[in-house]
């Protein structure tokens, strides 16, 4: 690629963007909102101070859930798009 010819990014599928926005919202809730109110979550749940457990373990587990959910959803979207593209090609040819 010659220097000076910038590469414009692909147009992002709206579905992908909504997925990202939703998961990022969940991420922000778990990290910033939960930590902001950590002092109010001092009660014991199953032997753990809830605010402490949330910051030490709960949030990390939640991050894993978010990332895995993103992987699974994106793979499904990509499969659907591939199937659609194939049917369009088959229909057109």
């Amino acid at each position: 690629m010659p220097p000076g010819a910038p590469f414009a990014p692909d147009l992002h599928d709206a579905r992908h963007l909504w997925l990202k926005a939703g998961l990022l919202l969940a991420w922000a809730l778990v990290t910033f909102v939960a930590c902001f109110f950590a002092r109010d979550l001092q009660m014991l749940v199953a032997g753990w101070p809830l605010g402490y457990w949330m910051a030490a373990q709960g949030a990390v587990l939640f991050f894993m859930v978010i990332v895995v959910a993103y992987c699974v959803a994106m793979s499904r979207f990509e499969r659907q798009e591939a199937a659609q593209a194939a049917s369009v090609r088959a229909g057109g040819g």
């Binding site: 690629m1 220097p3 000076g4 010819a5 910038p6 590469f7 414009a8 990014p9 692909d10 147009l11 992002h12 990202k20 998961l23 990022l24 991420w27 778990v30 990290t31 910033f32 930590c35 902001f36 950590a38 002092r39 979550l41 001092q42 014991l44 199953a46 032997g47 753990w48 101070p49 605010g51 402490y52 457990w53 910051a55 030490a56 373990q57 949030a59 990390v60 587990l61 991050f63 894993m64 978010i66 990332v67 895995v68 993103y70 992987c71 994106m74 793979s75 990509e78």
Partner: protein, 696 residues
């Protein structure tokens, strides 16, 4: 191999699984062998060096086996690392000396959130894992889709021109270099403890392993070394934690059950806060602090008085024919007195602050499980403390998370995945392997604190365990236990543990055989070496690929480029070792600072470049420069040495919103976004070139 069809891909994966299984068995077998040898009387002086030697040799061996001069192999490991292994390598790359050595200690010292002046605690755990959510969704798959080699390549390809790439390369060098210095410092610390050699020689020993590996094999060798190192790190972290949990709670599953100890610690903290002997310790430190404060009122006279007193003492000792050792000690004390008033003022101020710090309940540590210090409904001071710690906690977490999404050495790891879906899966695997350790770190802190409060506090000074004396000899700043109130019994306020020490001393604290201490040290070494590998490769690639070769059109073959990169790597490693030998600062603040820099320099422009077509080249340049400049300015304005050297109008006045300088990214990231948006708006996007290109 990956492109020969699913059958051969499966065979490849199985071969890797088999090798990994054999390797894990090998490590466990080696541990058993060493434990057996220790029982049969192998001296401790040998165990440390053997672990060090084997660790470095394994790295070097993989480096020799994976040696390559092929560009695709050297820079991105041939893009065929299966996601699970890529994740494991990224985890080792990610977990630095700071995570492995200092994190447990920082959690011990800082509890939930740290103190007003020093945020931390669980912000590290959250920040270093939560960032992967951003990497997975916003960055890694998009970068992988572009088939690049380095991070500055992205800026080149997306924005064109030369400045975006040059600035990105310089920023990559800047933040990776601060980070690599911290790693090499960690290597020196561990190697000198393991082998008893000098700190500087320890650095050189460890560096040998890094260099052999990354020098010969590049990304391919580094990937497999990192997988090997991850296994050692995981074992080295989980064995002591599980052992402590087994001792205290009767089950090795530490992370599931340590909640009980959290409540126990809360109870013991309350007892300590009421204990009379602890109050004596606090008063003793207060007295010392006041003594220094008195001296600071008139530094010149106080210095003269102190010198006179020291001379007097030597005279008396000589006159009474005292022991030579005592006289030597007294003369040494005189010799180490501050040379002039400026030095005296600086040293005494530090001592005063330190003594006042320790003259607080619980030795200045915050309550362990209480979220944020202070009290939202208390006195104005308490309310302010509460707001301050909470704000700094959130700010630090933000910087670490966003910094994760901007650190070049981590992002290049996802270039080695075989596909875009593979890059996504790699991020998920990395997070899994990192979480395995990070979820155990708070458990380690809690169990160690329980052990200290329950067993060490209240024991007699003449029965202190051996390891305390040994570590105090390595560096008094790491550990000191001093009978301040003179009652011969250890109080909690009299123990001071350095953050870098706690993990390394855990096996001895729990009474494990010395072999486990060796393993933990080897794990710390693995953490430091694996991160240093990745960082050195990133720096040398940025210097050679992105700065040297892109500036002019040079006629060189890819092999020659790779060879030049290798020599740049050697030079960078030596420079970093030189800086680390000056012992600049603690590990954790250095690393946190480089997160803030990476966050402000890369993330705003990278995210805008990926998601907004309207970002222009000038906008990108402005975003990177402004973000980096704001963060750098804020950090440097608070470095004490610069504060005295530069005129005050050039520096930031005080803290902005009470945010500590390590969280400078809080200002740098929005500044970067804003600058990139504004400048992109002003410099309208060029006519639609891509459409023209497509027609050609």
């Amino acid at each position: 191999m990956a492109d020969k069809g699913p059958a051969s891909e499966r065979a490849y994966l199985w071969r890797l699984h088999r090798i990994l299984g054999l390797y894990v068995l090998g490590v466990l077998g080696f541990l058993a062998l060493m434990a057996w040898a220790e029982q049969r009387g192998l001296s401790r002086h040998w165990i440390g060096p053997i672990f060090l030697f084997i660790m470095v040799m394994v790295c070097a061996g993989i480096g020799v086996y994976g040696r390559t001069t092929d560009a695709e192999e050297y820079y991105v490991a041939g893009r065929r690392i299966p996601p699970m292994y890529n994740g494991m390598a990224a985890a080792a790359d990610w977990m630095s000396a700071a995570s492995f050595i200092s994190l447990g200690g920082a959690l011990y010292l800082q509890g939930f959130s740290g103190t007003p002046g020093q945020p931390g605690g669980l912000a590290y755990v959250l920040g270093w894992t939560g960032g992967f959510v951003l990497v997975a969704m916003l960055i890694a798959p998009h970068l992988r889709a572009m088939n690049l080699y380095t991070i500055p390549d992205f800026f080149q390809v997306r924005f064109g021109g030369r400045w975006p790439r040059v600035i990105a390369a310089l920023a990559a060098v800047l933040c990776s270099f601060t980070y690599v210095v911290a790693q090499i410092y960690g290597v020196g610390l561990i190697a000198s403890r393991l082998t008893g050699v000098q700190f500087e020689i320890g650095i050189m020993l460890g560096l040998g392993g890094v260099l052999l590996c990354s020098f010969l094999g590049g990304m391919r060798a580094i990937t497999w070394t990192q997988v090997a190192q991850y296994v050692v790190m995981l074992l080295a972290f989980l064995i002591p934690v599980s052992w402590l949990a087994y001792q205290q709670l009767g089950t090795p599953l530490a992370t599931l059950v340590y909640g009980k100890q959290v409540s126990q610690i809360e109870r013991m903290e309350e007892q300590l806060l009421l204990s009379e002997t602890e109050h004596q310790v606090v008063r003793a430190y207060l007295q010392r602090g006041m003594e220094y404060e008195r001296r600071l009122l008139d530094v010149g006279a106080a210095l003269a008085r102190e010198r006179e007193a020291a001379r007097e003492r030597i005279h008396q000792l000589r006159a009474s024919n005292a022991d030579v050792g005592l006289i030597v000690a007294a003369s040494r004390e005189l010799a180490s007195m501050p040379r002039d008033e400026a030095q005296a003022r600086e040293r005494w101020t530090r001592e005063m602050v330190e003594n006042y710090e320790r003259a607080r309940p619980l030795g200045g540590l915050p309550r362990h499980s209480q979220a944020f210090v202070g009290d939202p409904d208390g006195t104005p001071k308490e309310r302010e403390d509460f707001q301050d710690t909470r704000r700094n906690f959130l700010a630090l977490m933000f910087c670490l998370m966003v910094g994760t999404a901007g650190l070049p050495h981590l992002l290049t790891r996802y270039y080695t995945a075989p596909s875009v879906a593979g890059a996504r899966a790699s991020v998920a695997w990395s997070l899994f392997f990192i979480a395995l350790l990070y979820v155990s770190a708070p458990a380690l802190a809690v169990l160690v604190k329980y052990e200290v409060m329950h067993n060490l506090v209240g024991s007699h000074f003449d029965q202190l365990p051996n390891w305390i004396a040994q570590w105090a000899r390595v560096d008094a700043a790491l550990l000191s236990v001093e009978d301040v109130n003179g009652d011969g019994i250890v109080q909690f306020g009299e123990i001071r543990l350095g953050a870098d020490l706690i993990m390394l001393a855990t096996p001895e604290l729990g009474g494990l055989p010395y072999v486990i201490s060796g393993l933990v040290a080897a794990g710390g070494l693995a953490a430091a070496l694996s991160t240093a590998d990745g960082l050195l490769l990133t720096i040398s690639n940025a210097l050679v690929r992105d700065l040297y070769f892109q500036e002019k059109t040079r006629h060189t073959s890819p092999e020659q480029r790779v060879i030049l990169t290798k020599f740049a790597l050697l030079a960078v490693a030596l420079a970093a070792a030189f800086v680390a030998a000056l012992k600049p600062s603690d590990i954790l603040p250095l690393v946190s600072a480089s997160f803030s820099l990476a966050a402000s320099a890369f993330v705003p422009v990278m995210v805008l470049g990926i998601f907004w077509r309207g970002t222009t080249r000038k906008g990108a340049v402005a975003g990177m420069l402004v973000g980096l400049a704001v963060a750098l300015y804020y950090i440097l304005s608070h470095v004490p040495a610069l504060r005295t050297a530069l005129p005050p109008w050039m520096l930031a006045r005080g803290l902005w919103f009470g945010i500590q300088p390590i969280s400078a990214g809080v200002f740098g990231v929005p500044a970067g976004f804003l600058a990139a948006l504004l400048v992109s708006r002003i410099t309208r996007p060029p006519p639609p070139q891509p459409a023209i290109r497509l027609e050609m």
